[in-house]
C-alpha cells in the first residue's frame, strides 16, 4: 500500500483540477473546498510517507513501461526516496497554507473556481516533478508546471500586463527547456540511462570531459529557465502580475526551486566536469548580488520580494555548484517558509490598502496592521540570516562552503549586506512613518483565514531551522567549518541595516537615485533590442531572398529566359520564302561539302 502512496499523493490534486474544470466551475462554493480538500489529502499523504521509512519494495513505486526504442528505455515511474518525500511534504504543506490563505484573498474574485482549479493543477504538476524517477517524466511535469505558471500569472487576463507577463514567463522558460532537452538527450546517449536510480553508478564510470560538460550545461539551461537565473531571469519580476497567493506559492516557495531540485537529482553528471560546476557556482554567486542591488531601488513591494527571491535561489544554486547539496536543500526548505510568509504578508498589506502595491503610497501600516508588521519582521530576520532564526542556519551552511573560494564568498556575503539594506528600506517605507495615502489611512488586517497561515509560517520561519535537513537526506557536507565565514557574513548582514535606517526612517520620498539599478541593469531593454534586431535582420534576409531569388530569379527569370528564347527563335520565321530557301541551300551545301571533305580531303 505504501508503495502506491506516491501515485495517490500525485493524482489527488489532478482529480480536483479535472473535477472543478469539467463540472464544478459554476459552483465556487463546492469547487473551492474540493481543491483545498485535495491539497489537504496530499499533504497528509506526504506526511505519512515522510514517516513511513523505506517501503518493502524499495524506494520506487511500480513503474509503467513506456518508451522502448532500441537501447533506450524509459518508464513512467515514481520514486519515493528521502529527497522526494521531504520535497513533497514541503510542497503540499506550503500549498495547503496558500490554499487556506486564498480562501480569504480571492473571496471576492469572480473567477475563483478557475483559480483553485489551476492551483490544483499546479500542485499536481509540481508533485510530478518531485516524484519523477527519470528525466523524461520530470520533463513532462516540468512543462506542465510551466503551463500552470502561465495560467496563474495571467489569471486576471483582462489586464494586458498580465497576459504579457505570462507569455514572457512561458517563452523564457521554453528557451531554457530547449537546452534542457538537449541535455537530457545528451545524457541519454552518453550514459545510456536517464533514470535517477541508475545515474550515479553510470556516471561514476566516467565519460569524456567535454561531452559531460556539454550535457551538464544543457541540463543547467533547464534550471536557468525554471529557477530564473542569469540570463533567463527576466520573467520572474514580471510574474508578479499574478495574484499574490500565486506569487508566494509558485514564484517563491515551490516552482522556482524545481530547477535546484533537478540539479540535485542530476548532480552525479554535473560533478563529472569542473567546468560545469564552476559555471553553476559563479552564476549562483553573481545572481545573489545583482538582484539584491536592483531591489534597493524598486518601489513595488512584490517586485522587491521577487528580486530577493532571485537572490535566495541563487544561494541554492551556489550550493549545488560548490558540491554541497545538503545546505542547498536546507536553504530551500527554510526559504520556502520565510519567503512564502513575506509574500503572504505583502499580500495582506496590499489587500489592506485596497490593491495598492507601491510602498511609497503606503506608510504607517505598523499601527493599523500590527500583525502583518510583526510577521514581516520575522520574515525579514530570516531572510537576512540573523540568528537564531531558521534562515541564519541554512544560509550560514552555504557561506561555510565558500571557505576556499574567496570570489564566491565575497559576492554572496556582499549580497547579504544589500539584502538587509533593502528589506529594512521596505519595512520602514511601507510600515513606518505616517500613512501617505487615503487607502493607507484606512488599512485593516485580513480575515482569520489569511492570518492563520501567516502565523504558522512565521513559527516555521523561526523554528524551522531545527529540522536536520541535510542529515535526513544523507547529504551532510564533509568540509571543515571555518569560523570567519560565520562572523563575516553576520557582520555584513547586520551592517546592512544601518544605512537603511538612516536613509529611510521617516522618509517621504526616496533619497537615493541610482538609474541603472532602477532600470534593472537594462537587461530587459537589451533583450528587447537584441530580439528586435534579430527578427528584423531575419525578416530582411527572408525578404531579400524572396524578392531576389524567388520572385526575381526563379519566377521572373524563368519568364525572361523563355521570352528571350522565343524572341530569338521567332526571328527565324520571317515569312519570306526566298529567305527560307537561301538558308536551306546554305545548309545543304554545307552538309554536302562536309560529307565530301570527309570522303576525299
Amino acid at each position: 500500500m505504501i508503495a502506491y502512496a506516491p501515485y495517490l499523493i500525485l493524482l489527488l490534486p489532478l482529480f480536483s483540477a479535472v473535477a472543478i474544470r469539467l463540472f464544478l466551475h459554476p459552483f465556487p462554493r463546492i469547487a473551492v473546498p474540493v481543491s483545498v480538500g485535495a491539497c489537504l489529502g496530499s499533504f497528509l499523504g506526504s506526511l505519512m510517507l515522510l514517516n513511513a521509512g523505506t517501503p518493502a519494495g524499495g524506494m520506487a513505486a511500480p513503474a509503467v513501461p513506456w518508451i522502448e526504442l532500441g537501447g533506450l528505455k524509459a518508464n513512467f515511474g515514481l520514486v519515493a526516496d528521502p529527497l522526494a518525500r521531504l520535497m513533497a511534504t514541503l510542497v503540499t504543506g506550503v500549498a495547503l497554507l496558500v490554499h487556506i490563505y486564498s480562501l480569504g484573498y480571492m473571496a471576492k474574485d469572480a473567477g475563483r473556481s478557475r483559480f483553485f482549479a489551476e492551483l490544483s493543477l499546479f500542485v499536481f504538476s509540481m508533485l510530478g516533478i518531485v516524484f519523477a524517477d527519470n528525466l523524461i517524466t520530470m520533463f513532462i511535469f516540468w512543462e506542465l508546471v510551466g503551463l500552470s505558471s502561465y495560467l496563474l500569472i495571467g489569471f486576471w487576463h483582462q489586464r494586458p500586463a498580465a497576459g504579457a507577463a505570462a507569455n514572457k514567463a512561458f517563452l523564457v522558460n521554453r528557451i531554457g527547456d530547449f537546452g534542457f532537452i538537449l541535455g537530457i538527450l545528451g545524457a541519454w546517449s552518453l550514459f545510456g540511462t536517464i533514470s535517477f536510480a541508475d545515474l550515479p553508478s553510470r556516471a561514476a564510470s566516467g565519460a569524456p570531459f567535454w561531452a559531460a560538460t556539454a550535457v551538464g550545461l544543457g541540463l543547467l539551461c533547464g534550471c536557468l529557465g525554471k529557477s530564473a537565473q542569469l540570463p533567463l531571469h527576466v520573467w520572474l519580476p514580471d510574474s508578479m502580475e499574478g495574484p499574490t497567493p500565486v506569487s508566494s506559492l509558485l514564484h517563491a516557495a515551490t516552482m522556482v526551486v524545481a530547477g535546484v531540485y533537478m540539479l540535485i537529482r542530476v548532480l552525479p553528471i554535473l560533478e563529472l566536469s569542473t567546468v560545469t560546476m564552476s559555471t553553476i557556482a559563479w552564476i549562483g554567486a553573481v545572481m545573489t548580488l545583482l538582484p539584491a542591488l536592483i531591489a534597493c531601488q524598486q518601489n513595488d513591494i512584490k517586485r522587491i520580494l521577487a528580486y530577493s527571491t532571485l537572490s535566495e535561489i541563487a544561494y541554492m544554486v551556489l550550493a549545488v555548484g560548490l558540491g554541497v547539496p545538503g545546505p542547498g536543500m536546507y536553504h530551500l526548505v527554510t526559504h520556502a517558509f520565510f519567503k512564502c510568509l513575506l509574500f503572504l504578508a505583502a499580500g495582506s498589506a496590499i489587500h489592506g490598502c485596497h490593491e495598492e502595491q507601491d510602498i511609497w503610497r503606503m506608510g504607517g501600516l505598523r499601527k493599523r496592521m500590527p500583525f502583518t508588521f510583526l510577521v514581516t519582521w520575522v520574515g525579514t530576520l530570516a531572510l537576512a540570516a540573523i540568528p537564531p532564526v531558521s534562515g541564519f542556519w541554512s544560509k550560514d551552511a552555504i557561506f561555510a562552503a565558500t571557505y576556499d573560494r574567496p570570489g564566491l564568498a565575497a559576492c554572496s556575503m556582499l549580497a547579504g549586506f544589500f539584502t538587509s539594506f533593502f528589506m529594512l528600506r521596505m519595512i520602514l517605507v511601507a510600515f513606518g512613518g505616517k500613512p501617505r495615502t487615503e487607502s493607507a489611512k484606512h488599512a485593516h488586517e485580513g480575515p482569520p483565514v489569511m492570518v492563520v497561515p501567516m502565523l504558522i509560517l512565521a513559527v516555521l520561519s523561526v523554528f524551522g531551522g531545527i529540522f536536520p535537513v541535510a542529515e535526513f537526506l544523507g547529504m551532510k557536507p564533509d568540509h571543515p567549518h571555518h569560523a570567519w565565514t560565520l562572523w563575516l557574513s553576520l557582520m555584513l548582514a547586520v551592517a546592512g541595516f544601518v544605512p537603511a535606517y538612516f536613509l529611510y526612517q521617516d522618509a517621504i520620498k526616496d533619497p537615493l537615485h541610482v538609474p541603472i539599478l532602477q532600470a534593472k541593469f537594462y537587461v530587459d531593454e537589451i533583450y528587447q533590442r537584441g530580439l528586435v534586431t534579430m527578427q528584423d535582420g531575419l525578416g530582411r534576409l527572408a525578404d531579400a531572398f524572396e524578392g531576389w531569388v524567388v520572385r526575381g530569379f526563379l519566377v521572373r527569370g524563368s519568364g525572361v529566359v523563355a521570352r528571350a528564347a522565343g524572341q530569338g527563335l521567332r526571328l527565324v520565321q520571317c515569312g519570306q520564302v526566298q529567305l527560307y530557301a537561301a538558308v536551306f541551300i546554305l545548309g545543304a551545301l554545307g552538309m554536302i561539302g562536309w560529307l565530301l571533305w570527309k570522303a576525299a580531303p
Binding site: Q578, L579, A581, A582, V583, L586, L589, L596, A600
Partner: protein
C-alpha cells in the same frame, strides 16, 4: 546528227574531236546566255521567251549526248506545253515589269556560297572519279537509247514509279481545277 557526224567522222578523223567540242561549246554558251537572260531581265514575257530558247539549247545538248528521244520529249513537253502554260498565265495576270532594288545579304550569301561550291567542287569530283575523264566520242556504231529501250525499262523495272507518276498527274489536274475555282457566289 549521227549520220552527219558519221559522215564527217569517216572523212576527217582529226576534225571529229573538234566537232564534239564545237557543238558542245557553242551550245553551252548559248544555254548559259539564255539562262542568264531569264534570271536577269525584267519583263516577264521576255524572260519566258528566253527560257524557251534555253530549253531548246538544252534539247540540243541532249542530242550531243545521244539521247535523242529525250531531246524530243524535252521540246514537246517542256518547251511546248509548260512554257505555253507560263505564257498564258503571264498574259492572264498582266504582270508588269519589276523595279530594281537592293539584294538582302542572306540571299546573296547563299548564291555566293553556291558559286564557290560549284567552282571548287566540280574539279574535285572530276579528279575523284577517273571515269569522268573519258572523252566523248561519236561513232557510227553507237545506238542511242530510243523509245524502245526506255519504254521497256519504264514498264518493267520502274513500273511502280510510272504508275505513281500517273497518279501524280491526276492529282495535279484535280488540284489545279480546285485551286482555280472562284468561290461560288462571288
Amino acid at each position: 546528227m549521227t549520220a552527219v557526224a558519221g559522215h564527217l567522222i569517216s572523212r576527217n578523223p582529226r576534225k571529229i574531236t573538234r566537232m564534239e567540242q564545237f557543238f558542245f561549246w557553242s551550245l553551252a554558251v548559248g544555254l548559259m546566255a539564255a539562262a542568264t537572260a531569264v534570271v536577269t531581265l525584267r519583263n516577264p514575257v521576255t524572260n519566258a521567251v528566253c527560257l524557251v530558247v534555253a530549253l531548246v539549247f538544252q534539247a540540243a545538248l541532249f542530242v550531243t549526248l545521244e539521247a535523242t528521244f529525250l531531246a524530243a520529249v524535252q521540246v514537246i513537253v517542256y518547251a511546248g506545253a509548260v512554257m505555253v502554260l507560263f505564257l498564258f498565265v503571264i498574259m492572264l495576270m498582266d504582270v508588269k515589269a519589276e523595279a530594281r532594288r537592293p539584294v538582302p545579304w542572306p540571299k546573296a550569301a547563299a548564291v555566293l556560297v553556291g558559286a564557290v561550291a560549284v567552282v571548287a567542287g566540280v574539279p574535285k569530283l572530276v579528279a575523284a572519279f577517273p571515269a569522268a575523264r573519258e572523252p566523248l566520242r561519236w561513232s557510227a556504231q553507237s545506238t542511242p537509247f530510243g523509245a524502245k529501250e526506255l519504254g521497256s525499262l519504264l514498264f518493267t523495272s520502274y513500273a511502280p514509279l510510272f504508275l505513281a507518276t500517273g497518279v501524280l498527274l491526276l492529282v495535279a489536274t484535280i488540284g489545279v481545277v480546285v485551286l482555280c475555282r472562284r468561290d461560288p457566289g462571288s
